[in-house]
Amino acid sequence: MAESAAPAGMWTPGQARGLLAIGAHRYLLALLVRKELRVRYQASVLGLAWSYVKPGVQFLVFYFVMGSFLGLSRAISPFAVYLFSGMIAINLATEILGNATRSIVYNAPLVNKIFLPRQLFPVSSVFVALVHFAPQVVILVLGALASGWLPDLVGLAAFVVGVVIVLALSLGLGLLFAAVNVAYRDIENVVDLVLMVAVWFSPVLYAWTFVRDALVHHPWLVQLYLANPLTAAVELFHRAFWWGAATETDRVSGVVDHLWAHAGLALALSALALVVGDRVFRRLSRTFAQEL
């Protein structure tokens, strides 16, 4: 790949720059996000309300199956808050990752006709997902307050760190998968598979102690489970919204020990994912137009 400089006083077109370059395209990014939202709820009566219906139904199913039938609501009470706070963390991650992965292929007509920083498309999926995420947080806060939760500063910090982990990790992986998906469409299906199991590989529907006790002879597997940045994010969300409403005895099983050490590791891993994703995306983006 030729990488020679342009003649004096001139610039070279089509140079792929990194994520930070999209700062100059904030207005276009805003329009792309608005377009995404408009188009997604086009000709639908419920419109944006669908973003409540889907997690709502998911929540009810999990609540009754796991909480009532399998009796988890007694072990980790208030189970509704526990479940929902973990669920919205995972949903944020899966929505970003799923949409970002497909974003380049979906926007093929733009990608192969007009030169834009291609990162705009995966990044716009992040903002679209945040638009869906915000009302879920509001519902969660109301539910938690109703269950006797009192907000605290440590909890707020846990929430912010949790969101940062989810965003960095899913954007990083989203950039990586979006770039590879251009040449190998298998990636979309791999990602679908990952998203399907993601909710089971983090303590969303059960407490992390279940994993610890089941794998008591394989401590490294437990460590692997805890090293998943999404596990840390889910536990941070539990710390933020559930911990304050739980009893002393439940707190022990509901939030992992050494939470902040796990959070630190998760932050580092997510940052790594973002850097690698950005690099790979930048490298592969040169061939997007001819592959699509």
């Binding site: 790949m1 030729a2 020679s4 400089a5 342009a6 003649p7 006083g9 001139m10 610039w11 070279t12 077109p13 089509g14 140079q15 395209h25 207005y27 276009l28 329009l31 792309l32 377009k35 408009r38 188009v39 086009q42 007509p109 733009l110 192969n112 006709k113 007009i114 030169f115 834009l116 040169r286 061939t287 137009a289 001819q290």
Partner: protein, 242 residues
């Protein structure tokens, strides 16, 4: 005068991969045939320099590399070898309406497309009335674009494109838009841009029209520059009259 576009020793090769699925890869492995990527050289050592304010027609038959060259200049494609230098901002009218979304209204599409082509919000606000005027569809501007006729769609898309204000315009086969009065209007607009001393690179198969419009013709054949002259002379050569 200084050069506005410099292209040096540009080579662009496409590898056409046929093997994509596991089944096909396995089938090839069994037969012992290796995957031979089908290489196709779209641009072969192209060197040219276009001065500021020149109106250049890129001429050539289908598959001669005209569009590939435009895409390399606009940055959509990355060349394999050689380099390109630009002075000033560039907008490629590579295909009108590439950024249009059928589910958005005309107004929303004007803003989205304007931003895609590099306009700021203020610039689009300022140009909005003029864009609508130019497109001659003021009554439908708040209708979703999917209800437009193809002519209306192209008019609006073209109107947005010609209201961007770059120093270099790359125009690919978009002058065949709409009915004759609208086409004439488009050509007038291109002439205005030419008179404003913009650098224009135009690809079109309407040979008479581009020959009249441009001051210089570059003929590509199989990805090579074979002639660089006054446009009417180039057109005559293409038609085998010389």
């Amino acid at each position: 005068m200084s050069a506005s576009i410099v292209v040096e020793d540009l080579v662009k090769t496409f590898r056409i991969k046929h093997v994509r699925s596991l089944k096909e890869i396995a089938a090839r492995a069994v037969r012992g045939a290796s995957e031979r990527p089908n290489a196709f050289t779209a641009l072969d050592d192209v060197t040219l320099s276009i001065e500021e304010g020149e109106t250049v027609a890129l001429l050539g038959f289908n598959g001669s590399g005209k569009s590939t060259l435009l895409k390399c200049i606009s940055g959509v494609l990355t060349p394999d070898e050689g380099r390109i230098g630009l002075r000033g901002s560039v907008a490629g009218l590579i295909e009108v309406g590439a950024g249009f979304h059928p589910d958005l209204t005309g107004r929303e599409n004007v803003y989205l497309n304007g931003a895609i082509l590099g306009m700021s919000e203020a610039a689009i606000d300022a140009a909005f009335d003029s864009i609508v005027d130019f497109s001659e569809i003021p009554d439908f501007i708040d209708t979703e674009v999917k209800f437009y006729s193809s002519g209306m769609f192209l008019r609006l898309a073209f109107a947005v494109a010609v209201h961007t204000d770059p120093d270099i315009f790359l125009v690919d086969e978009i002058l065949a838009v709409g009915d004759e009065p609208f086409q004439r209007k488009c050509i007038d607009r291109i002439k205005e841009l030419r008179d404003e001393h913009k650098t224009l690179v135009i690809v079109s198969h309407d040979l008479n029209m581009v020959a009249d419009l441009c001051t210089r013709g570059i003929l590509l054949e199989h990805g090579r520059v074979v002639m660089d002259d006054e446009p009417h002379a180039v057109v005559r050569r293409m038609r085998g009259e010389e």
